[in-house]
């Protein structure tokens, strides 16, 4: 049974490896409902690996991931598929299916999981695209649009099935500051409107300070979490020097 007191996501003692290299161990944290939760850290600390282990694209070496109290790591194929329907994943490069138009990209999950008639699916797809500011691009192929647009279309697809949890892998990577900020406000809108739980892997300090409710910071040396809390707490309170350095980076130009 799902209750609000129960965390939306609960990660317990997770250990992940990339190929034969052990990237993370003993990672435990939980994400509350309707929270914007960041997984941060420098490059190569295992943020994306953690995300892939959480959504089932990689199998953890040890530990458990639970969504709304149900174990995902230990779930069988059918159970897992049911749970997959409840979350969306927005990939770093959009990962749009290149042989389908934007409308078809968004329509595919709907065709797979709903019994809606084709024209209604088309309308929903168009609505999702307009939500992310891509009205008029329904019949474009991914190769015909820019990187930022691909990312937004990827987000529209991730939202197609009205997921309760949306994961983002580096949403602002490769985007100009204005587009990145627009994407941030879109994420905030989605959370405020639908009460969606949002997990974001990022190292963009502006985004973190701008929209994160809470974050965990991963570290390469300890192969685990070195800080957990709200960005302001961590930036102003007594934190690990690495956390302070990360969150309060100043310009390299002195003065």
């Amino acid at each position: 049974m799902t209750t609000d007191a129960q965390p939306a996501i609960e990660v317990t003692e997770l250990a992940c490896s990339y190929q034969d290299y052990k990237v993370l161990q003993g990672v435990s944290f939980s994400v509350r409902h309707a929270e914007i939760f960041f997984i941060v850290g420098g490059t190569g600390v295992g943020k994306t690996t953690l995300l892939r282990n959480m959504v089932g694209l990689a199998t953890p070496v040890h530990g458990d991931v639970r969504f709304n109290g149900r174990s995902f790591t230990g779930a069988d194929v059918v159970e897992r598929q049911e749970m997959l329907k409840t979350f969306g994943l927005s990939f770093q490069g959009g990962a749009l299916w290149s042989s389908l138009t934007l409308r078809e990209n968004i329509a595919l999950p709907l065709e797979e999981y709903t019994r809606l008639p084709g024209d209604e699916i088309g309308r929903i797809a168009a609505f999702r695209l307009s939500q992310v500011g891509l009205k008029g691009f329904e019949d474009y192929y991914p190769s015909e649009i820019s990187g930022g647009m691909k990312k937004r279309a990827g987000l529209a697809r991730a939202l197609a099935l009205d997921p309760t949890i949306v994961f983002f892998d580096e949403p602002s990577a490769g985007l100009d500051p204005v587009t990145a900020r627009n994407l941030d406000s879109l994420i905030l809108d989605i959370r405020d409107t639908f009460g969606t739980t949002i997990v974001i892997v990022s190292h963009d300090v502006d985004s973190i300070m701008g929209i994160a409710d809470r974050l965990i910071m991963l570290d390469r040396d300890t192969r685990g979490i070195i800080a957990e809390g709200s960005p302001r707490q961590l930036a102003t309170g007594p934190s690990d020097p690495k956390v302070l350095e990360f969150l309060t980076r100043r310009s390299v130009r002195s003065g």
Binding site: L57, F87, G93, W97, L108, P109, Y113, G154, L161
Partner: protein, 368 residues
């Protein structure tokens, strides 16, 4: 003025004065030759007389401080400009080599890794076949939808669009076989039996085999490259996360398309091969086409054609499955996509030949 470094001993301290213009393009002193055999207790660098400097000076300063650190003596850089000091320190740090990442392996480890690799490949292959079987079962039982549009478009790509190359190759194979056959048959005055030779060879063996090899090179490689690049683009992950089986979505339409088109292409290849043989027989051996045709029908029967068709269906499935499997196994980079395409062709052709040998024994045993 050219770059100079003059060493002077003051008690236990070796003071090195840097002068002139230091440039990477010009000749600059090396720390080793400046310090020589000296064994000071401390080193001091000063750069009062330096008019211009670049990385060449940083290298000198860095080597000096690395040398001092190595000898365990003090290196006084306080008299250098701040930026020079900082960069020199960074350079010295970069000279400290960490633990080497040793890639060499013993024979024992190599054998172990190769065994583990072979086992995991076998497991992946069996897993893939199992997944295909389950997906096909769900499809037949109506539990899952099928992307007919994708399948039709793949049929066009691997079937209709392969016609020119299949035509050319089978026609040429027919001609080659006819010439080779004629060399032997002529000795016995049996020129007309060229028709029998071509008829049996094309329908039972060469039609299906040639179409299979063309499709392995054309379609198998294309499937591997297409699915491989989808994988490196995270498109496969996007399907998986949505709970949509990549096997059902990508593999089944392709395998079915090539499995359906292959027998048609094989029949077409048979016809073109026979035509090639007929042309050689007419032009070179003086056998009229009608005589050729009638002679051929005395030996080629429906079972021969059926043998070719059965083989071609299996070859088609082999090409489709090996192309898709290699694509799904592809590494997430450009080189990985290339390797998977090559590997798809090699696997496809290898298994076609193996299957052909098995068929030969099997059909012999059942008298077909």
């Amino acid at each position: 003025m050219e770059a100079r470094a003059t060493a002077r001993t003051e008690g236990d301290v070796l003071e090195v004065a840097l002068q002139g213009s230091w440039s990477l393009g010009g000749a600059t002193p090396r720390w080793g030759s400046v310090v020589g055999d000296a064994a000071p207790k401390a080193v001091r660098l000063r750069a009062d007389g330096v008019s211009h400097w670049d990385t060449s000076l940083i290298v000198f300063v860095g080597e000096a401080s690395h040398w001092c650190a190595d000898k365990g003596i003090a290196c006084d850089l306080e008299r250098l400009p701040e930026r020079m000091r900082l960069l020199g320190g960074q350079f010295a740090k970069s000279l400290v080599t960490g633990e080497l990442n040793d890639h060499s392996r013993s024979l024992f480890v190599e054998v172990g890794l190769a065994t583990r690799n072979a086992m995991s490949q076998a497991r992946e292959f069996l897993g893939f076949i199992g997944e295909c079987w389950l997906a096909a079962k769900r499809l037949v039982s109506g539990q899952a939808g099928f992307r007919w549009n994708d399948c039709l478009s793949e049929m066009q790509k691997c079937g209709a669009m392969a016609l020119p190359i299949v035509s050319l190759i089978s026609f040429l194979v027919g001609i080659t076989l006819a010439y080779s056959g004629a060399i032997v048959l002529r000795r016995f005055g049996g020129d007309i039996w060229v028709a029998d030779l071509i008829g049996v060879a094309m329908t039972r063996e060469m039609g299906a085999m040639m179409a299979g090899i063309v499709l392995a090179g054309r379609t198998g490689a294309a499937y591997a490259a297409e699915i491989g690049s989808m994988k490196s683009n995270e498109e496969i992950d996007a399907l998986t996360v949505l709970g949509i089986s990549p096997v059902r979505f990508l593999v089944l339409p392709r395998v079915l398309a090539v499995g359906l088109m292959m027998p048609l292409l094989a029949l077409y290849a048979n016809a073109l091969g026979i035509l090639g043989g007929m042309m050689v027989a007419y032009v070179d051996l003086g056998i009229p086409p009608a005589a050729y045709w009638i002679e051929m029908l005395t030996i080629v029967d429906l079972p021969d054609i059926a043998v070719g068709v059965i083989k071609s269906i299996v070859y088609g499935l082999i090409v489709g499955l090996s192309g898709c499997l290699r694509g799904l196994q592809s590494e997430n980079n450009a080189a990985g996509v290339g390797q998977s395409a090559t590997s798809a062709v090699v696997t496809g052709i290898l298994y076609i030949i193996v299957a052909d040998a098995i068929f030969a024994v099997l059909f012999q045993a059942i008298g077909l």
